[in-house]
């Protein structure tokens, strides 16, 4: 099968304000297949966000190469959608306008179909009443949901999500997870999903990339053999519980970052 995203021996070093250097990534090799759902887990500061920024083309690696559809990434590309770790909403736009913003920003106009879709997504994230509010009037979790809805409005080939559910309660989180799976099923795409929840990673992914820190590198890549479609029942599947424990043990056996 053809690779959609390739990271070959990627290293990333940042120069810091105090004159020091921060080695964020070292020798990272990653090869993601078409329409694969991959999760990244790893300790805080191991370089997960950095990997997403490298794939999106927002950042150029200091060594190694990042390719998408086989082409070296030198700048952001059209087929990528992104959920940032911070909600990153535009404070002067209403919630609805924030959701349709990618269309406005990319193409200069928002079609009626997109407006309708935005309202659908608003419903899905449970904020139907908040369409005309400003981001500043939402709670942290609400803002995060708006930024997820924004990334789902257009239908990119590659979706990069940086801890999208971190500020959500368990219930909302599960709902959003299943919604995401449904959308991914309907319109397959390659998803790279950063999370700190092993359950979440297992529930959603085809493969889980386990990283470690200082310097950030890939420790292990785990295949998730759970059958699809996944649903509430998956959460009680013995393989699920077993794998969750295994990964937890693996993660906890490391030294902390």
């Amino acid at each position: 099968m053809e690779h959609v995203i390739d990271l070959d021996a990627v290293g990333q070093v940042f120069g810091a304000s105090d004159g020091g250097r921060i080695v964020a990534l070292q020798g990272v090799d990653l090869h993601l297949r078409k329409n694969e759902f991959v999760s990244l887990i790893g300790p805080s500061g191991c370089g997960k966000s950095t990997i997403l920024r490298l794939i999106s083309g927002l950042l150029q690696p200091t060594s190694g190469q990042v390719r998408i559809f086989g082409m070296p990434v030198t700048e952001p590309r059209d087929e990528i959608g992104m959920v940032f770790q911070k909600p990153t909403l535009l404070p002067w736009l209403s919630v609805l306008d924030n959701i349709t913003f990618p269309m406005k920003h990319k193409y200069g106009r928002v079609t009626d179909a997109e407006h309708a879709r935005a309202r659908e997504l608003l419903e899905m994230i449970g904020l139907a009443d908040f369409g005309h509010k400003r981001p500043g009037e939402l709670s942290g979790g609400m803002q995060q949901r708006v930024s997820i809805a924004r990334s789902l409005l257009h239908d990119p080939d590659i979706l990069l999500m940086d801890e999208p559910f971190s500020a959500l309660d368990a219930l909302t989180r599960d709902e959003m997870s299943f919604e995401l799976l449904r959308i991914w099923n309907e319109r397959p795409k390659t998803v790279v999903f950063v999370t700190h929840s092993i359950q979440e990673a297992l529930l959603l992914s085809d493969r889980i990339v386990v990283m470690s820190a200082r310097p950030g590198k890939v420790d292990d890549i785990i295949d998730v053999p759970l059958p699809r479609p996944r649903n509430m029942a998956t959460l009680t599947d013995p393989i699920f519980t077993q794998m969750a424990n295994d990964i937890r043990v693996q993660v906890f056996s490391r030294t902390p970052a």
Partner: protein, 253 residues
């Protein structure tokens, strides 16, 4: 009562100042040729007749507004160019500083000689005086956009022009308006300076004319009208901001 007092505080203070002024002039016997009393100013103003006042005020405001609009039309593209390219910024900025720090009165003869004695040199002078704060403040606003919003725009592969129009410009609105407020008063001052250099009417001309014949009350009446125009235009800019960009007022997004 309290709230009312606070609402009309500025008007109140204004009236108190006016009364104090009148009393000081009357009792301290301040000569009219230094500081005329408000009553003297009012009667001097009435003496000239409304039609003539209108003519002078219209001349000055036309120049001020034309210069202001040209300044805005120049400053925005300049601010954008500066923030867009460090090279352009390195080339343009020193020239802007040069223009800004050139005392206009010194080069006014060149301007008048080159552009003739009509309204054009006056508008040019006004523009030269009003546009620098606009450029500097807008450029700061455009450059201050949080990195994450720029990344959002970049990740969407939006054209730079959309990045400017939909992200940087809205973000810079409070900066822009802060400069628009400074500049509108500078535009009025600019129009007056231009009239000092070459004009046959206008409030600045009237001030020059009256002070040089030591008719200070008329000059003060013209000054009052000028200041009033400034206050009204300043208020208008604020009102526009409140109307068009209500979110930009308490800044701090």
């Amino acid at each position: 009562m309290r709230a009312l007092a606070s609402r009309y505080a500025s008007a109140l203070v204004f009236i108190v100042v006016l009364i104090a002024w009148q009393l000081i002039c009357q009792f301290a016997q301040v000569p009219e040729y230094i500081l005329p009393a408000p009553s003297a100013i009012v009667s001097a103003a009435i003496g000239l007749g409304p039609a003539r006042w209108f003519e002078h005020a219209a001349a000055t405001l036309q120049v001020a507004l034309a210069g202001y609009l040209v300044a805005i039309a120049l400053a925005l593209p300049l601010a954008i160019s500066i923030t867009r390219s460090p090279l352009l910024s390195r080339i343009i900025m020193p020239w802007l500083v040069v223009i800004q720090s050139t005392p206009i009165v010194a080069i006014a003869p060149i301007i008048v000689v080159t552009l003739g004695a009509g309204w054009l040199p006056r508008v040019v002078i006004t523009t030269l005086i009003a546009f620098f704060p606009l450029v500097v403040s807008t450029a700061l606003g455009l450059a201050s956009v949080p990195a994450e919003l720029v990344e959002l725009s970049r990740s969407l592969r939006a054209s730079t022009s959309r990045q400017y129009w939909q992200i940087r410009m809205p973000y810079a609105v409070p900066y822009l308006f802060s400069a628009l407020k400074v500049s509108i008063t500078l535009a009025i001052v600019g129009a007056v300076v231009a009239e000092f250099v070459a004009a046959e009417k206008g409030l600045g001309y009237l001030i020059l004319f009256s002070t040089s014949s030591f008719r200070v009350p008329v000059a003060f009446a013209a000054l009052a009208l000028l200041v009033l125009s400034s206050l009204v235009l300043y208020g208008l800019v604020r009102w526009l901001q409140a109307r068009l960009f209500p979110w930009s007022q308490n800044a701090g997004h």
